[in-house]
Subunit: 219 residues, 2 copies
Amino acid sequence: MTSTAAPGSNAGTKGVARADREAQIVDVACRVFGESGFAGTSVADIAEAAGISKPLIYNYFGSKEGLYAVCVRYAASTLVDEIERTAQTGEVGLARAVVTLDGMFRVLAPQPWIWRLVFDPTSPPDGEVAEILADHEQRILTFGLEGVAELLRQVGNTDERDTSAMRAVWENVFRTLVTWWLENPDSPEEMTQRCIRLFDSVFGDGTQPLGTVSGSRGA
Amino acid sequence: MTSTAAPGSNAGTKGVARADREAQIVDVACRVFGESGFAGTSVADIAEAAGISKPLIYNYFGSKEGLYAVCVRYAASTLVDEIERTAQTGEVGLARAVVTLDGMFRVLAPQPWIWRLVFDPTSPPDGEVAEILADHEQRILTFGLEGVAELLRQVGNTDERDTSAMRAVWENVFRTLVTWWLENPDSPEEMTQRCIRLFDSVFGDGTQPLGTVSGSRGA
DNA sequence: TCGATATGACTCACGAGTAAGTTACCACAT
DNA sequence: ATGTGGTAACTTACTCGTGAGTCATATCGA
């Protein structure tokens, strides 16, 4: 008998429309990829977590990387949208950083895994995913970088390499605050207040604290 | 024909003593692991780069992870040794940070790949390697952490979670400066000067710059 | 000739991707 | 209302490549 799917098997439609199924798979995949990373996740893992079979994923997304690309696109654009939303508040300098961080904490609170999706070190370095990340990552982390150059200019430093290094540092301060929060969860409000305190500790001269921007949530 | 190594093959001793061969393999492995990460490196890659065959590596190191453990141990203790050496200069606060960074740049200049070995995100999360890293990583990055708590205390903040977050930030500032330098190479001296300028820009009030500790190299 | 050094050719597990089949819904003819 | 066929949804059981780890054998210095 060359029959590959025995009668009485689970094969066959379960009445779930393709669009619904795709959305469900993407949702599950985001969490699993976010937890284990691209390299650490097998397509079978996702299929099992979603309660379906592996070939269905290939039917709908073509490849592991195809599915991953959809997840990354969703994650990246979620973060970018939030950043560009908070950018409209018109804050500048540290206040802008606080508002942006506050926005991050709020979007990430219900779906913390999407952060790891965007910054997954095992994500494939070439191909579609890399392009998506290249497109978005800059926008995700570039928001306050003019502020860095400005800070250095104020003390008379216009060196390009100094500015580049300082940008890298600032980028990672931002990333670290978010990452720390994901590993040490809090309410977004509390974490924003914490960031304000920390910025004040480092930068503040005590006279005009950042506290005034707390709780701001534009448009 | 059950012969597995044909007559006239390359099999047989090449007169290299085991200790020498081991050292050579570790040296090559450090570079390859450092470039491609643990997960991205196959044992065959290392064997080829070292000009030997795969089974020899298993003879000497038992497993891929066994070899990796030796590499990580070397890398981690190199960094820790340097940190503990500079700690003896007795500097405190930011000056200590500068001295430590300066030491890092000098050890890493001739063997930059060992940094990546210690902070490889694809390194196995359990087992011997994880233990080695857990033992060393703390010492690598903890050097200035009392300074963080002190900074916060000075502004009247003794909150534990604030301190924890601030520690994470400072850790990553340190890491980012080193990583940026590895990706944008410079002489160690120039990079140390850069760090001094950047610290001055952020923390300095302009009156007593950190420049006085430049070039310090203890004991 | 014995033991250390060394290798070619294997096994085995795992994960990406595929071929070929099964089941259920639905439009439509009767 | 009921058979009938087309099609979308779905699965089982495979292939195939890759990389970790092993075995049996070969060479050479002492």
